[in-house]
């Protein structure tokens, strides 16, 4: 309680904590609903995953770090054992969607864009912040949807979000786990070791060469791993920080554009199957590389553009 009454903490941070508690409860709801779902083939594993996640998100601030660590290990066990499953899916029928659309029409874009608008507006108000803005946007969007239609009761929102959460499943935790892995790499001194090795290749103090190596490295690593999120943690710790940022380059430009350099790699690799191979099957294409073939030239143009951009605005 001391956290919420502390006057030195901004209202935005306090609201964000409330949003985290709510998000945690949503995860726990997902866990409990699946535990009682007869159609779920693995109710216990699914419940353990979502409830452990929910507890860390909602109450992590008040749990000691080691306790949170243990909860995360408990959370990943059913995920690794493939014991987190989707139960009964109550997707809306086409008829229901059509009826709703006839009633609401193009006005549906207003709540859809609300979250992004609130995020930008609140980002401009430092005491509130972008993330709290997202939360406020969600509430406003929900209120608008309730005004549009009486059928949009709170339980509909809750069950629709449970359906989506269950569908995305444990893989949605990938960015958070990768960020934690990055923190472990940093704590273990991995960055220093890479810096020592790469230091023999990159002339010390040449920021531009560092940027080129960082950008191309991001693209190449992403192509090998098929995931720019995995590449950015490793590459920022190993190359971005010691060879570019350490010499005073702008972390906003370098850190962020490096990620989109990685996306150029995503466009060129069959390893990113979700984006490049699955569509081939969905569109009944003959050439397995048919999507990638159409992305290579834009990707090459964009990597060059981004390297120039990073060098210009470092």
């Amino acid at each position: 309680m001391a956290f919420f009454t502390d006057p030195s903490i901004t209202i935005g941070t306090k609201l964000l904590e409330v949003i985290y508690i709510f998000m945690g409860l949503m995860a726990i709801y997902t866990g409990v609903k699946n535990l009682r779902d007869k159609e779920n083939k693995s109710p216990v594993g699914t419940c353990v995953f979502w409830c452990a996640l929910g507890i860390v998100i909602a109450f992590g601030r008040w749990i000691p770090a080691v306790g949170n660590g243990i909860l995360i290990v408990i959370m990943v066990v059913p995920a690794i054992l493939q014991k987190v499953k989707v139960g009964h899916v109550s997707a809306p029928t086409e008829k229901e969607v059509d009826t709703n659309y006839k009633k609401i029409g193009m006005k549906i874009f207003l709540p859809a864009l609300m979250i992004g608008i609130c995020a930008i507006v609140c980002a401009l108000i430092p005491v509130i912040g972008a993330l709290t803005g997202c939360g406020i946007g969600v509430i406003l969007a929900a209120v608008i949807l309730m005004i549009y239609s009486r059928d949009n009761k709170p339980v509909v929102f809750l069950n629709d979000s449970e359906r989506l959460l269950s569908t995305v499943g444990p893989l949605s935790m990938l960015p958070m786990l990768l960020a934690s892995l990055g923190a472990i790499f940093t704590a273990a001194g991995v960055g220093d070791v890479i810096a020592g090795i790469v230091g023999n290749v990159i002339p010390e103090g040449n920021v531009n060469v560092g940027i080129i190596v960082f950008a191309l490295g991001m693209m190449l690593f992403t192509m090998i791993m098929g995931n720019a999120f995995a590449a950015i943690t490793v590459m920022t710790v190993g190359i971005g920080a010691p060879f570019v940022l350490a010499y005073g380059a702008d972390p906003v430009v370098i850190g962020m554009v490096a990620l989109t350099c990685g996306y150029c790699g995503t466009l060129c690799t069959p390893m990113a199957a979700n984006f490049n191979i699955v569509p081939v099957a969905m569109l009944d294409m003959k050439n397995r590389m048919g999507v990638i073939k159409n992305q290579v030239i834009p990707a090459l143009i964009l990597i060059v553009v981004q390297i120039v951009y990073m060098i210009m605005f470092k």
Binding site: I70, I80, A119, A183, I184, T236, L283, M285, V305
Partner: protein, 229 residues
């Protein structure tokens, strides 16, 4: 043996390249790195726990989902389909380009219409082949195959480079939390801002490239008159 600390990176690269379970790879890399790096089990658990709680911001998508599903239920996809169907008389390449504009703008607000399965296949591809037919040509099989690739490419390019414009998107959040332990504090709004020029260039590159490619293919498969009305 300093180099032993790199084994975690090796595990990540090899693991992802061999398509092993992503979460398993990350946990293995974390445990091995913590042990050879001298953090120990307790250090591992506390670093893991601390960083996960510090990075809860990345789970913000959970609260966003509270409305995503219900927006879908209330006809968001149908509205988007009707919006793009307002386009008349465009060539197939231009249909793909206009879809790119629409998708990128909505991606910047973190709104998607269902990807290749949900939108490109049922809405965009019929519009593209319809554009060929409207110009009095029988759609050529190889041309349509290329159009499918182009539409998917546009889908990916605009989504990747559009979503980083969303303040609170997971990419920027990951960059923010990767930089934090290294001693660099950055704001989400600034991260989105630096991507605006890149996003616009990406969109233009996609539109121009696919437009020209379609024009060239139209010439190749149907003669010189082009795919327009």
């Amino acid at each position: 043996m300093e180099y032993l600390k790199l084994i975690g990176i090796l595990i990540v690269i090899v693991g992802f390249a061999l398509k092993k379970d992503s979460i398993l790879i990350i946990m293995c890399a974390a445990i091995v790195t913590a042990l050879v790096g001298g953090l120990g089990i307790e250090g591992l658990l506390s670093t893991l726990g601390q960083s996960f709680v510090d990075n809860r911001s990345m789970a913000i998508f959970i609260i966003v989902m509270l409305v995503t599903g219900t927006l879908e239920r209330n006809g968001l996809k149908q509205a988007a389909a009707d919006l793009i169907r307002k386009v008349k008389g465009a060539s197939a390449g231009l249909v793909i380009g206009l879809y790119g504009v629409m998708r990128m703008i909505f991606a910047a607000f973190n709104v998607s219409f269902g990807g290749v399965a949900g939108f490109v296949r049922p809405i965009i591809m019929p519009m593209a082949t319809g554009a060929i037919e409207a110009s009095g040509k029988e759609p050529n099989e190889d041309h349509v195959e290329e159009l499918k690739g182009m539409a998917s490419g546009m889908e990916n390019i605009t989504w990747f480079f559009g979503q980083v414009l969303f303040v609170g998107g997971s990419g920027a959040l990951l960059v923010q939390s990767t930089l934090k332990p290294l001693g660099y504090e950055v704001e989400l709004l600034d991260l989105a801002k630096v991507e605006i020029p890149i996003g616009i260039i990406a969109l233009i590159v996609g539109i121009v490239y696919y437009y020209l490619k379609d024009k060239k293919l139209t010439k190749k498969y149907y003669g010189t008159e082009g795919g327009k009305k």
